[in-house]
Symmetry: C3
């Protein structure tokens, strides 16, 4: 019975093919090289503006793009491999939905960032933005990890990318808010969207799968690969689309120090909150990253190195406390089963980052930024907004993000409940064997597999 429901033989190929063919048609009709990737246009621009090849945006942004790309595929992918029997699903569904989401995001962001002569222009900056949007989907994936079919995940990505682009448009183009590293657009949005989806998909009997909802020794090691790549490349993430020059440089450095301080407070809190002082890998794998999330909005501003450290320090503390005390409450009281604890890594630190961004923006002045004010706060520099108004708009942006994420997550959650999506039953969550050919290997795995099968056949017999 379960077999029929979760058999992906028609559902998954159909979904993939239809989505990809739609994308190919839309790309054919709508997408073109921008003036830095098109052979003719770039050579015209070089000639007319007397530019050199090293002024092509590729050289400013491609190294950052590659770091972001590693964060999306290795960082998020391996961070989620901590589950003992869901390594294939973690890293490979991450791969699938990212490959889809980055294409769809190119289209959705292209529409909303403005067409040129009815066309979407693409280049390295749009590639970074597409990866960013994908990151948001992966955060939501973390909340529902192990409890969803690949078809559900593709549908979630489809709708979430679309809503992401709408929210991003409102924040950046309507409200003129700044959010280069995406504390709001990426982290807050992805986390609360995913939490709402998890809420709607609440599984009352999930404890039937609880023996697999934990790590083994080697799966924790794989997860650390994800953690460290996210940690190391977060400076590139936050600085990837900031303005050239001091902006990229400063953003990377602020993030570097925020993360370093966050790591120390994470280790401290992890030990402090354990009755025997033993460190918990869950905290190290996740909370140590909160400093990057929290520096996502203000990182490009003149936050100062010490300001960055304080933000990171607080983010680590909040995040560990969340894992320790809030996650159980979310699950028991609010019926939100958050597999990876995205509320602690992306949700609360994202809100913190938004608030820090609003405060820092409201303190902006030409005295501090000099002519650099044009790059960071063009609306203030042009006199269209006062610093305090900019700060207020940043705060409004947080509210808008929360609203769209919460509402959107609920609606999308209900869509994903459709039986056709092939979700696993409560007893076989966190198990690769449902959607993957799994090699039968070490006794331990064999035993687990056997026990799963026994459970299943018992169910069928009863």
């Amino acid at each position: 019975m379960t077999d029929t429901a979760t058999n992906m033989r028609l559902k998954l190929p159909l979904t993939c093919f239809i989505l990809e063919i739609i994308i190919i048609i839309l790309f054919g009709v709508l997408v073109q090289y921008d003036k830095e990737t098109d052979a003719k246009k770039w050579h015209l621009e070089k000639k007319s503006e007397n530019k050199s090849d090293y002024e092509n945006d590729f050289y400013y942004r491609y190294p950052s793009f590659q770091d972001v790309h590693v964060m999306i595929f290795i960082g998020f992918g391996f961070l989620m491999t901590f589950l003992q029997r869901y390594g294939f699903g973690s890293v490979a569904f991450n791969f699938l939905i990212s490959a889809f989401a980055l294409q769809w995001a190119t289209l959705m962001q292209g529409f909303l960032h403005g067409l040129h002569d009815g066309k979407i222009d693409i280049g390295v900056e749009s590639m970074i933005n597409a990866d960013f949007c994908t990151g948001s989907v992966l955060i939501s994936f973390g909340a529902v990890l192990g409890k969803t079919s690949p078809v559900q995940l593709l549908f979630m990505a489809l709708f979430e990318v679309t809503l992401f682009a709408v929210n991003e448009f409102i924040l950046l183009s309507v409200l003129d808010a700044k959010d280069a590293g995406g504390s709001m657009t990426i982290h807050t949005f992805g986390a609360y969207f995913g939490l709402m989806v998890a809420r709607v998909l609440y599984r009352p009997n999930l404890d039937k799968s609880k023996q697999r909802n934990c790590s083994v020794y080697h799966s924790d090691m794989f997860a650390m690969i994800g953690t460290l790549y996210l940690w190391m490349f977060w400076p590139s993430f936050n600085s990837a689309i900031t303005a050239h020059g001091d902006d990229q440089h400063r953003t990377a450095m602020n993030t570097y120090y925020s993360l370093a301080a966050c790591t120390l407070s994470t280790f401290a809190m992890s030990s402090l909150t354990a009755h025997d002082g033993k460190l918990d890998m869950v905290h190290i794998q996740n909370a140590a990253l909160a400093g990057g999330v929290a520096a996502g909005t203000a990182g490009e501003m003149m936050l100062t190195p010490v300001g960055s450290m304080i933000v990171g320090f607080l983010a680590g503390i909040i995040s560990v406390l969340g894992f320790k005390y809030l996650t159980p409450i979310l699950e028991e009281k609010l019926k939100i089963q958050d597999t990876c604890g995205v509320h602690n890594l992306h949700g609360m630190p994202g809100v913190l980052g938004a608030i820090v961004g609003a405060v820092t923006a409201s303190l902006a002045s030409r005295e501090v930024y000099g002519d650099g004010l044009e790059d960071v706060f063009p609306e203030i520099a042009k006199g269209h907004l006062s610093a305090s108004t900019q700060g207020f708009r940043q705060a409004i942006s947080l509210g808008v993000t929360l609203g769209i994420a919460l509402l959107g997550g609920i609606v999308v959650g209900f869509i994903l409940k459709l039986p056709v999506c092939g979700a696993p039953s409560d007893a076989i969550c966190f198990e690769d064997n449902i959607y993957w050919e799994v090699p039968e290997d070490s006794p331990s795995h064999g035993d687990q597999l056997a026990s799963v099968r026994t459970e299943e056949s018992e169910k069928l017999n009863s």
Copy 2:
């Protein structure tokens, strides 16, 4: 008996020392810094041409070089660790033959790309080319993985690098073909060369080792590290030696979209071709990369984003079909035991890439490329060739590559059959224990080891 044959104590050190000493002597006689790495020459050039340090090719290409370098050592190395008992051999023989091949390639490519005053000039571009040539050897390694001694592998690298350089010279310098990402020179050449070596080294009793010719859960996770690094950095691979500016930018982006589309068709086909719809890790690990291979020739051309997607989409389909239906035929009918399925990942997608390149080249026009035509098709821009002739030459290049690869592989295969090379017997293939001190660890491994030993001692007793 087997022990004596596979004992590397004299063979491997002698081979390594002799090869390295020859290389050192040849480097001493022939190799010098080029004008961008030599202190005196660069400062002279700066002064005479009024250049700045940021015009040094290092800043255009070194980030791409490092990405390529990661693909060679981590990408190829870990992709091959899927075998349960050949992780050491996969990642470390990959390391050994790469370290040798990149040195030898510097010499061979240097000879053939033209000496300057009797010297080979080296810099970041020659380093990338050396890594590229190494990639070709690693593709062939995939075909014979688990069935060869390190001495065989070093000899294979020695001859293959040499033939690679000859083929590359014919294609790029004689035929004026374009192949920046190496659909032909790297992938088609490496795959068909390796398949011929595997054919000559055919092992009729390989099923004695078949219990080890498969993965375990964690070895599949390690292999995904290789897959993802290849996937993420393929845009850098294809763009690493294209012209500065729009060319590098466009090539990277074309490859990015080709791979994304390929990933969706790979997942779709993997599920569709399984009777229970379960995904197969072999497909995800390999076929999802075919989009990078297939964009290797046309990636630098004005293929358009949608063109790139269509190419990647087809490459994924072809590749999964190859794994599913062609590999068994190759093994049974043609006696080609292709351990990693390089025919499906590099062979067929490489040929596809060559064809796409020929077609795209034959459509080139100044109207589309503008002054950029000089960079992509200098012979067409100069009026030496028409677009259709360029396309025809691209097609000829594919034929030349196939010819040299097939013939070369057969000859080298026979050289590697020499008993002195220390190949393992059919019953102990895919086993690290032959060439490595292997720690005795988990029961599962212990059991396997014990069973190998029992088999061996039975063989000796019989």
Copy 3:
């Protein structure tokens, strides 16, 4: 009893919080953005010196910084995961002490490299230097791996960073020595400092833990991730802070060829020194990196490609011989228990690198370097020093480094002996279970854990 001593519940949080708060206060008082990260200053500089954004040092150095960053967190972190039951401690204590050390190094190096108006200016170059200093601490960590508490490690980092900065100041600012890749300042210093700490912390009964002081199959695979990232990115490490242009370019290339040659001699020696010719993963994981260490000083000089290869070739030989014959002597005769063999990877190759640097420097001439002499040897170019004096000063620098490292290591070793630091007893070294919540997973691990517990309870009962 042991539980009480090694319980970190108060010690670790207190240490982390106090150190981080001190750092935050000092950053608040002393640290500011430099002229390339400060919005106002950079825009003033752009205007007054007619500069462009691509001249911001970020674009010259950030890709190298990220490579170095990966070496510190993934490279060193995973290199040390070879121990079967110390993967968490290896990768995560590496993470903790690095996050601390890079902050503290910013302050210590900032003081000694010179304040500007009483402030420490920071940017990408100071970030690289902070990571470099952290690398030195991680080398010392390798010597005491598995035998120290996180509190001991933080204290070691605190003092070692301070002494590192003093030694670096003497070498670079007082003696005008050159050491861009840190053969002396990083490798020699870190290794001999760590060896002295290990000497003072000598554990006579460490063989009680010897069953865990070795690898298992998968832990060796994880360690290869570390090895390969160190190997691949070492060219970026050595070139990260050399002068722009030919210097960065040449240093990266010299290191590339030194490492390639080193890899061949490592494989040769590993096989040659085993009675059955089987390769040893310990050698491959470590000795193959010695070529990077040995090119640390002379890499930026006109060492020539062949010179680099010879240096790497010798470094590999020395390093394997050290692992094979010297490490047991160090342990038995000198009572230095060097867990990772840092003497073989960093100690001896570091000294070799220093000597090669001294010799190469003493051969410098304007004839060879042209105007590039200014960049590599400014004191020679200005006529302040002769080449032979520069070479002599390089040699003196090696002596100074050894002196400070040996003395400093002894003193710090005694500080770390204080019982309050919570070191594990001899019977429970190399065991994550002391400081970590460890999941109970495969039988093999379970057994080991059980046996540890039995030993422990036997000890308590006796």
